[in-house]
């Protein structure tokens, strides 16, 4: 961390001294998560979800490694091997339910974390790289979650795999070969199951690697804060440890309480009944839906029902679905408002509120059957989604008059001006 008032790491023991000279891992930890990282003092609870997402990634990796010890990635026995885990492996039911619901909790945390970034302008200079790496993490997490859902080889696993890989078929010329390459065949079968299992095991470690870069990039400018105003002096900050470790610590407890309620008392509430039926290529479920965390994007995919000139509606839907997330890569350059925090942008605040409702509506429509009136509603909601990022934000940064910003973080918290003498 570049702030000159950051506490310096001093090894307390001779061994610590020795280690610090050879391989300064303790210094690295001290400077990234310890007292050596001065953090804005005014972070609200929306800043707790980054570390929570990281912890749930660890939960997923640990439970996943244990599951992989008992699971068999073969289309003939995958379904039964999952039931073997549920019935015969000691506490296997707990590990599996924790893994299945842990994915949902990871996405809850990551969505709130992204929403925090969107509202408080955490994607703006000088933090663009943190944001870009975050979008990469999100894309990798989606791929990982999708492939993980295929592994139990139930009806929804099979048909989900068929629908999602079928999207690539819409790409002109190369679509069909790409789909066959992804599946290792013409339809999901043993080859697809095996490669999905292999990649499902690999990608979380890639995510962990990108998270390291995400945190590295964070430590160059330091954390954003609810005012969006730059840190100006030592009074504006507190050391990450113990202040934010304690704050993250107790909210982790709250999150785990909710997680426990889900895992032990409502373990199948977020799942789909059809996935307890073994995969059957000859019987299509009445309606195929992905897991809840994909519903908004699924709604955008299905919102395109009319061909545009020579472009088929299906291809438009696929392009739009990918664009809906890829647009985040351009966000730092689409929104040119110099004010970071939405707290001081009266019009942005309203549009952001609409966006949140809009995404919830999209989510609801994505989970509903593809019939009217849900199609109409998701068309209007998708139109707003694109308009928000591509039209409203670029124009708003010119048209909006932001409210005056506080002089410093300290002043906004205590009401007294920051004394620069330190």
């Amino acid at each position: 961390m570049s702030f000159p008032w950051a506490k310096q790491y001093t090894p307390a023991t001779e061994f610590g001294q020795w280690m610090d000279e050879k391989l300064p891992v303790p210094r690295l930890i001290y400077n990234s998560l310890g007292a050596g990282y001065p953090t804005p003092r005014n972070l609200n609870y929306m800043w707790n979800f980054g570390s929570l997402a990281g912890i749930f990634l660890v939960v997923q990796i640990v439970t996943g490694i244990i599951l992989a010890m008992h699971y068999a990635a073969n289309a003939n026995i995958a379904f039964d091997s999952v039931e073997h885990i549920m019935r015969d492996v000691n506490s296997g039911w707990m590990i599996r339910y924790a893994h299945a619901n842990g994915a949902s909790f990871f996405f809850i945390a990551i969505y709130l974390h992204i929403g925090r970034g969107l509202f408080y302008g955490s994607y703006k200079a000088p933090r663009e790289m943190i944001w870009l790496l975050g979008v990469v993490i999100y894309l990798l997490a989606m791929a990982t979650a999708f492939m993980g859902y295929v592994l139990p080889w139930g009806q929804m696993s099979f048909w989900g795999a068929k629908v999602i890989t079928g999207l690539f078929e819409a790409i002109p010329l190369v679509g069909k070969p790409i789909q066959e390459l992804l599946l290792g065949g013409f339809a999901p079968d043993n080859a697809a199951l095996n490669r999905f299992f292999s990649l499902h095991y690999l990608l979380p470690f890639v995510i962990a690697g990108v998270i390291i870069m995400h945190i590295w990039a964070l430590h160059i400018p330091g954390s954003n804060n609810p005012t969006g105003v730059d840190v100006k002096g030592p009074q504006d900050t507190v050391p990450f440890h113990p202040y934010y470790t304690a704050k993250d610590g107790w909210t982790l407890g709250v999150a785990l309480i909710f997680f426990t309620i889900l895992v032990f008392f409502l373990p199948n509430a977020l799942g789909h009944a059809d996935n307890y039926i073994p995969a059957n290529p000859l019987s299509t479920p009445a309606h195929i839906v992905p897991e809840w965390y994909f519903w908004p994007w699924y709604a955008i995919l299905r919102a395109f029902t009319v061909d545009f000139l020579f472009i088929p509606a299906k291809l438009l839907g696929v392009l739009a679905m990918f664009s809906a997330i890829l647009v985040w890569f351009f966000l730092p350059w689409l929104d040119r408002s110099l004010v970071r925090s939405g707290m001081f942008r009266p019009k942005f605040k309203i549009f952001f509120g609409i966006l949140v409702v809009d995404i919830l509506v999209l989510g609801y429509c994505g989970g509903a059957p593809a019939a009217e009136p849900f199609v109409m509603i998701s068309q209007i909601a998708s139109a707003y989604y694109f308009a928000h990022f591509l039209i409203i934000l670029p124009l708003l940064s010119r048209l909006e008059k932001p409210e005056p910003l506080p002089n410093s973080i300290t002043e906004s918290v205590t009401g007294k001006p920051l004394t620069t003498a330190s």
């Binding site: 003092r41 039964d80 039931e83 019935r87 039911w93 707990m94 339910y97 507190v238 113990p242 202040y243 304690a246 704050k247 610590g249 107790w250 982790l252 407890g253 709250v254 309480i257 426990t260 309620i261 895992v263 032990f264 008392f265 373990p267 009944a273 059809d274 307890y276 039926i277 009445a286 919102a303 395109f304 029902t305 009319v306 545009f308 438009l316 739009a320 664009s323 350059w333 689409l334 040119r336 019939a371 009217e372 009136p373 199609v375 109409m376 068309q379 209007i380 998708s382 139109a383 694109f386 308009a387 990022f389 591509l390 039209i391 670029p394 124009l395 918290v413 205590t414 009401g415 007294k416």
Partner: protein, 286 residues
């Protein structure tokens, strides 16, 4: 440049979506979709509660044994329970000798190689065996059941929306087709009308047709309703045998987390006390 391209793409996507939505709306309101008979006549599962419901739920072993008896004497003629082993029956209160006897006396033998000739044959069941399947393969199952495969019941209460109440409703829900049922939805040959089934007609004939179809050893009156409820409860157990363990562990984990969270909260308050105190002055100064 990014913004100009962005605005153009945005105008295209949003514009086309709004046009599509308008076209959809015109179609929807000028030509509203007719309600399907499946939707009109379909009924939601009946309300029924089981001892295993809720976070404190436990199995009623007496009921599970009755349910097992219904499965054994009625359902098992057509429906497999392939994920359940005879040894698992000890979990619903049978002792080791009873389980061995149940396995040995099961109506169908377990397919195995003859130890002397190596020819495929059947032998009496052992406690370690999974319950034997009623049909040798899917083709045999189809041939014996009007071309419909009787599904495996092991996970049935988790594999259907509505769970055990749905199973109970289906078993007790057979009625004569209503007079105003459209021709297309009348039960065809070999089909039976049941408004709890998604497409209203199913191939399974009413399995629980008369009172006292099974005679319960614990003296419970075997009404159709009672048999349906018992077998549904039994199928909750087959689908989720670790339910009691799960509920118990859940309370222990919650108790631990509650205490840990309170302690973590208190330490958070202590650590932040000095920083918070500065913040409070703002209020008193004002």
């Amino acid at each position: 440049m990014v913004r100009i391209i962005g605005i153009l793409i945005g105008l295209f996507f949003s514009g086309w979506l709004l046009i599509s939505s308008g076209m959809g709306a015109i179609e929807y309101f000028s030509n509203p979709p007719a309600e399907t008979a499946e939707h009109e006549f379909h009924r939601e599962a009946k309300e029924i509660s089981f001892a295993s419901d809720g976070p404190l739920g436990k199995f009623d072993r007496q009921q599970l044994q009755r349910g097992f008896q219904v499965y054994k004497e009625v359902c098992s003629a057509c429906h497999s329970l392939r994920l359940v082993a005879f040894r698992n029956l000890e979990e619903i209160g049978y002792n080791e000798d009873e389980v061995k006897a149940i396995a040995a006396n099961w109506s169908i033998g377990v397919p195995d190689a003859d130890p002397n000739t190596g020819e495929m044959t059947t032998r009496p069941g052992l406690a370690a065996d999974k319950l034997p399947l009623p049909f040798a393969n899917d083709i045999a199952a189809r041939a014996a059941n009007n071309n419909a495969i009787p599904p495996d019941l092991s996970l049935m209460t988790k594999a259907r929306e509505g769970g055990a109440p749905y199973v109970y409703s289906l078993l007790t829900g057979y009625i004569d087709p209503p007079a105003n049922l459209p021709e297309a939805n009348q039960p065809g040959p070999g089909l039976h009308y049941n408004p709890y089934f998604a497409n209203l007609n199913l191939a399974m004939a009413p399995p629980l047709a008369v009172e006292d179809q099974v005679s319960y050893s614990d003296g419970t009156k075997a009404s159709i309703d009672q048999m349906a409820a018992d077998v549904s409860a039994f199928l909750i157990w087959t689908a989720e045998p670790k339910l009691e363990e799960r509920h118990q562990a859940g309370w222990a984990v919650l108790a631990f987390l509650l205490i840990a969270t309170i302690l973590a909260y208190l330490s958070y308050r202590t650590i932040w006390a000095d920083v918070k105190a500065e913040k409070k002055k703002k209020v008193s100064d004002a």
